[in-house]
Every structure is written in structure tokens, then in C-alpha cells.
């Protein structure tokens, strides 16, 4: 970093804030060895899996539950996203499921007794062309009809909300307007996982890391347990909540799912003074940015075009993302990139999740959250727990069943979900 005046100042505020982070308890979850048998085994120890375990214990009174994680807790997409939370989706089914999740976020810290820096700083989604304006206004009206908080902002109103944004007309992608969801925001993603892990563990859930599921014991189309790198474990019910590897697990259980796995990248800058107090997304130019509590700029890119399990993406995708970010925010031109990373997202043909039953009895699946699963963490866990406990889906996730690809009742959210999360 140079000392030229137009360089962003290093974040003194950021460092003060970091010092103010609450202390962690000495132990977040119990360290246990896997037992021989469980009522429910959840495959995948990310946010969605841990939330599923927590709500199974809290809402449905189960406690003989294990969460199996092949790596370390929340080391996959839970730690690799840009933490954006919103519910302004186009279709009724999506609006309902994401709004349910947003409502859970609003009381989650109290519910878990654990701080996770949930901050409703608003989410702005920019429109850059005539057709973009039409589709965003369509979303805006759809949100209004579904009772979801949403505003339409002119470029001048956007500028008032985000003073550092460039709204001049003579750029490649001028800002023609934006939708704004004031209740949207961000949270501290690893703390979300830790909060769920602690609360689930306190209710008796066993969290077992470093244990990979390598197969399933299935008799008469009914799951009996899982084979793991640490030996077989019997289970009454099994839930696959392993984004990035859902197809692999489904194939091990003998069925196919309409999922393709792609890299999705993001990056952060060093800590800077606060210059951005809301979340800004632009699907058209493939960038979304917020400034985290400590002061780092967090930016997400688009997915890579090809299937991959490598947890890294192509440089040209990052380049494209930063070019767009610099046009929107010229002040970022002197900011540095501290770190980039990739996660593997499971994408369904209609860019909507799959939550529900599978062709194997007592085996459930939760996948396809694509590029936007973080915001759904509480709702996804809540609904998955309901589905597992009752053996049938809740009204909110019934439309997101695997059989929608046979009936043709797709929930096409490419517009709202396609890239920008």
C-alpha cells in the first residue's frame, strides 16, 4: 500500500471493532467418537447440516443424532460464500421459502444464545439496461404482492444510499435503477456454523469431523445406515446435506439427481475504513460487494463455466468481476486483493434447491442451493428437520421436491438466483 492521498486509509475502525468481538466460550461443541447407531445421521457438517441437526433436536425432540463431516466443520461452502442474506425472489414458492428463512434470521441470535453479527443493512440490486429495469421492476412488484419489503430506487436515490457508487451515464454498464430490500443484510458466516454447532451439541447432537461417508447400507429400497472411513454406522434415517458433493453421494445410494457442480469464487480486501454500509449486487455485471464488520471488502464473482470439484476457479472470472467492481466503485481502484478462494456449488436446472425425499426410503436430500445457499441456512435446516421428522415435506418445501423435474413444475429462478448472491 502506498501513501498517496487517494489510497483508502487502513481500517483503524476495523481494528477497534475486531478488538470488540465477543469472546468465544472455551468449548463450542463436544468432541465425541461415533456410536454404532443413531436415529438420524446427517451427512455434511456445514451450516445447513448443523441447522438441520439443531432443529431436529429443538423442534422435534430427537437427540440421538450425528452430523458426519468428512473434513472440518463448516470448511466447505459455509466458509466460502459472501454471506448475503435476502428474500426478494421472483416466484411465490421461492419468496415463501426464503422469507421463512429471513424471519428465522431475525431472531436467530436470541434463539441460539450466540452472537453472529447479523446485520440488516439492506441489499441493493442494480439494473443496467432497459430489459434489466423491466425484469427488476417485475421482481419488485412480485415481492410487493408477496408482502416482502422491497423498494424501487432511481439512480439518484441509489447514489444517496451509496455515495461512493458511480452513476454517470457514460460507462459500459450505467446504473438505471435498483431494487432495495431494507431487511436484507449479512452475517458472520463461520459464527453462524459455530452457533448452530454449539446449540445442537448442547441438545445432545454428536458432531463428528474427519469422517467421510463412502457408501450406504440399503435393503429393500430402505436405508439402514452409512459406510464411513471410520466403519459402518447404523441409522434409522439419513439426510444428505453435502453441497458440492450431492451427486457423488446420490450415486453411491443408487440414484441420479439433476445437479451440476461448478466453482464459484469470491475475494476480500484488507481492512479499510467503512465506505459501504449496504450490500450492492449486480447480476448483469457479475459482481456483488459488501463491507464486513471489521472493514474488509467482500466481493463475489460468477461461476466458472465448467464442472469441477477443485474448489478453485479461473483467474479470468475474477478479472471480469473486478473490472465491473471498479467501474461501479472507482474508489476501489487502489484497494488490494488480500485473498481469493473458490467453493463448489451444486446447481439444479432451474436454479432452485431440491429439499425432500429420494427414491430410497428414509433417505432425504437437501441440495441445489447453487450460488445462494448461505441466506437459506436457518430455513433450510428448519424445513429439512421437519421433512426428516415427519417423513414428508413441509408445505414450504413441497414444491422443491426431486419429482418436479418429472412433473415439469420447475421454479425458474435464474433471473433472481442465476449468478449474483
Amino acid at each position: 500500500m502506498t501513501n498517496t492521498p487517494d489510497t483508502l486509509p487502513p481500517g483503524k475502525i476495523g481494528r477497534r471493532k475486531a478488538a470488540m468481538l465477543p469472546e468465544q466460550p472455551p468449548q463450542l461443541w463436544r468432541s465425541v467418537k461415533a456410536r454404532k447407531s443413531y436415529d438420524v445421521i446427517i451427512v455434511g457438517g456445514g451450516g445447513h447440516g448443523l441447522a438441520t441437526a439443531y432443529y431436529l433436536a429443538k423442534n422435534h425432540g430427537l437427540s440421538n443424532i450425528a452430523v458426519l463431516e468428512k473434513g472440518w466443520l463448516a470448511g466447505g461452502n459455509t466458509a466460502r460464500n459472501t454471506t448475503i442474506i435476502r428474500s426478494n425472489y421472483l416466484w411465490d414458492e421461492s419468496a415463501a421459502i426464503y422469507e421463512h428463512s429471513l424471519k428465522l434470521w431475525e431472531t436467530l441470535e436470541e434463539d441460539l444464545g450466540y452472537e453472529m453479527f447479523f446485520s440488516q443493512r439492506g441489499v441493493l440490486t442494480l439494473a443496467h439496461s432497459v430489459s434489466d429495469v423491466r425484469s427488476k421492476r417485475r421482481s419488485f412488484y412480485a415481492n410487493a404482492l408477496n408482502g416482502i419489503d422491497c423498494e424501487w430506487l432511481t439512480p439518484a436515490e441509489v447514489k444517496k444510499l451509496v455515495p461512493i457508487i458511480n452513476i454517470s451515464e457514460d460507462v459500459r454498464y450505467p446504473v438505471h435503477g435498483a431494487t432495495y430490500q431494507p431487511r436484507g443484510g449479512i452475517a458472520k458466516h463461520d459464527w453462524v456454523a459455530w452457533g448452530y454447532a454449539k446449540a445442537a451439541s448442547d441438545l445432545g447432537v454428536d458432531i463428528i469431523q474427519g469422517t467421510e461417508v463412502t457408501g450406504f447400507n440399503i435393503q429393500n429400497h430402505k436405508v439402514q445406515g452409512v459406510q464411513t472411513s471410520q466403519g459402518d454406522i447404523a441409522a434409522g434415517k439419513v439426510a444428505l446435506v453435502a453441497a458440492g458433493h450431492s451427486s457423488i453421494l446420490a450415486n453411491l445410494a443408487g440414484f441420479s439427481i439433476p445437479i451440476q457442480s461448478r466453482p464459484l469464487q469470491a475475494l476480500v480486501s484488507p481492512l479499510y475504513e467503512q465506505v459501504l454500509n449496504t450490500v450492492v449486487m449486480s447480476g448483469a455485471v457479475h459482481v456483488y460487494v459488501s463491507q464486513a464488520h471489521k472493514g474488509e471488502l467482500v466481493m463475489g464473482a460468477g461461476t466458472d463455466a465448467f464442472n469441477s470439484y477443485a474448489q478453485r476457479g479461473s483467474f479470468h472470472v475474477i478479472e471480469h468481476q473486478l473490472a465491473a467492481a471498479l467501474e461501479l466503485f472507482p474508489i476501489f481502484s487502489r484497494a488490494k486483493v488480500l485473498r481469493t478462494w473458490g467453493g463448489i456449488v451444486d446447481i439444479a436446472p432451474d436454479a432452485s434447491p431440491i429439499i425432500g425425499l429420494t427414491p430410497v426410503e428414509n433417505l432425504f436430500i437437501n441440495t441445489g442451493w447453487g450460488t445462494g445457499g448461505f441466506k437459506a441456512t436457518p430455513g433450510s435446516g428448519w424445513l429439512m428437520a421437519h421433512t426428516i421428522a415427519h417423513g414428508s415435506p413441509h408445505e414450504l418445501n413441497r414444491p422443491f421436491a426431486l419429482d418436479r423435474f418429472i412433473t415439469g413444475h420447475l421454479i425458474d429462478e435464474h433471473g433472481a438466483a442465476g449468478v449474483a448472491h
Binding site: I257, Q260, I406
Partner: protein, 101 residues
């Protein structure tokens, strides 16, 4: 950035290509299929962890489709081959552990 061997133009940057997912999916007779078989043709594509035979089109070059072996863990590139020709064997033994059941 991948360097992709177009069978017609040689090695080119990935940004000159579009992706077409699984190679060798035959077009079925829609009238002969049940709804679930049709759904399988329409929506389900292999998503293996390891070597994958996939389609690419060189839109910024010759504009033609071809098939390519590529490893989805390491991003190694294997052989490129033309559609409707015999598929060469997958390179190495990393296998198709997640290929369609």
C-alpha cells in the same frame, strides 16, 4: 484459465469456448419415453469427480462443437475428439467414481 485443444484450431484460451456439459448423450424418441425417462434425458447429466468426457464449442474460432476429456479434480486436459467418432479411453485411472448410476 484452461488451455483447450480445439481439434480444428489447436490450443486456445478457455475464454474462446463455451461449455456444453456431458458428451455423448443421444437424442431419444420423445414419444417412446415415460415422463420419468424424458425427465432423465432432459435434466440429468453425469457430474463425475475425476475424468469427464464433455462438450465444448469454439465460438471465437472455428465455431464447431467437439468433445474433450478433462479431469474435474485437477483440471488436467486429456484428449479432444470429434462427435460421432469412437470415444478414446479416459486418461489415467482416476476413474469416473461419480458417473451416472
Amino acid at each position: 484459465m484452461l488451455y483447450i485443444p480445439c481439434p480444428h484450431c489447436g490450443l486456445c484460451n478457455e475464454t474462446e469456448f463455451h461449455y456444453g456439459a456431458e458428451a455423448g448423450v443421444a437424442y431419444p424418441d420423445p414419444n417412446a419415453l415415460t415422463d420419468s425417462e424424458w425427465a432423465k434425458y432432459l435434466h440429468i447429466r453425469a457430474n463425475p469427480k475425476g475424468w469427464f468426457a464433455e462438450r465444448w464449442v469454439h465460438f471465437a474460432g472455428c465455431g464447431r462443437w467437439f468433445n474433450l476429456w478433462r479431469n474435474t479434480i485437477t483440471h488436467e486436459i486429456g484428449l479432444a475428439y470429434l462427435p460421432f467418432t469412437t470415444q478414446p479411453k479416459a486418461p489415467g485411472n482416476t476413474g469416473q467414481e461419480g458417473s451416472r448410476a
